[in-house]
Amino acid sequence: MAEKRVGRNTVIFAECPSFVATATTVGKKEGEGPLAKYFDQVIQDPLYGESTWEKAESKILLESVQKVLQKSNYTFDQIHFMFSGDLLNQITASNFAAREIPVPFYGLFGACSTFTEGLALGGMAVDGGFAQRVLVGASSHYQTAERQYRYPTELGVQKPPTAQRTVTAAGVVILERGGSGPFLTAATIGRVIDMGINDPMDMGSAMAPAAVHTIVQHFQDTGRNPDYYDVIVTGDLASVGKNLAEDLLKKEGYDVTDRYTDCGVLIYKPDVDTQAGGSGCGCSAAVFCSYFFPLLREGKYRRILLVSTGALMSPTTYQQGETIPAIAHAVAVEMDYPKGEG
């Protein structure tokens, strides 16, 4: 059997799964941001014709799934697994959307790291020969997350500049064996890191060390340098966490300044509501699916390292004074099929 592991945390795909198509649905605020023109669908009302926000979140995920099937000309029968997750208790947004999706289903929780967690697992299922084709998705919704993690949305509170806004978005992709690219070539699975930050209004600082740990591990495991990638993208560190991550990487001897960005920074124009930037499972999912995927297809970028980052706290844990553990998973997406041993 070909060795598909390198180093401590990384898998290198042998039969690299190919990205077939992506689809995104986002909320109004995201649809007014700098990436507005890239999304497939923008919903104007957070309820999106439903009676609750939770139903609306399931609906944007479901519609994104339907959209990606339509774009790729596949039917549910041709999808062997679906991997999806969200931020709600018992990941109900995904589970309830999956009621309408007749595909064997894995529900994932990795907080906002869910998208790359799903890509890594989906990639392994495809490369391992357990599936010809898989769906990977993630969603989040500003109002559902806000009421679960923080305050009622109509409460008049002032957010600190380190706070982030949960993105209303769903992003889904189809991965398959033997397509024409871009390809999922490697995945570095992060470990849970807790550096003692306990302020839920400052998740960027809590997650930055986890992102840095995974990125450094990826370079060490693969023997690659930052130059290998055209762009390194973290999930939702937002402006505060991004600055910290950049400096932490420099301390580790990796200067990524000229090729590093963050989905949470890209998705919004900064204002009083968004503060440091976006967060949520849908953040890296929607930004990758809508913005980076086409850039790879068009050849503007040939190699991307996407590192979705998750803060693994709950309202119960922070009320009990616990610090915030965080996790990050990295996936390498490349336009060229890797040569060599494979």
């Binding site: 009622p152 002032q158 500049p161 550096m195 003692g196 306990n198 930055a208 440091a276 610090t323």
Partner: protein, 149 residues
Amino acid sequence: MGKLTREQEVYKRWANARKPKPPLVRNTIAAFLVGGLICTIGQIILNFFLSLGMNLKEAGGPTAAVMIFLGALLTGLGVYDRIGKFAGAGSVVPITGFANSIVAPALEFKREGYVMGVGARMFNIAGPVLVYGMATAWLVGLFYWLVHK
């Protein structure tokens, strides 16, 4: 809460030193202006009740009721949270903020039903204020009674 390790403490100090600080001067001025405006509106309403021939003690109750109504109305219209984002404590501290803290969860949890939703969650935010406010009032009252007995 477990004690932080040395490495965690070093990181926390480093990260905290680098994070952006809230714009205190701007926030203070906004809170002063908006808080002052809300109190001025309260004074106008109080003066109105006084002009109807009530004395100061009698006019206090209806004035508070009107302010609570206004806070609740603006919350229902989706305006009070925007005022709050701008004014911070300036719109939290007056009685209109108290109304906001009760109406906001009540509105939001209506979907979980009138008993376990509205009924149970209404005092999510205001509950602690009531508990400790009443406890403090009781303690001060007891102290006053002991001193003046």
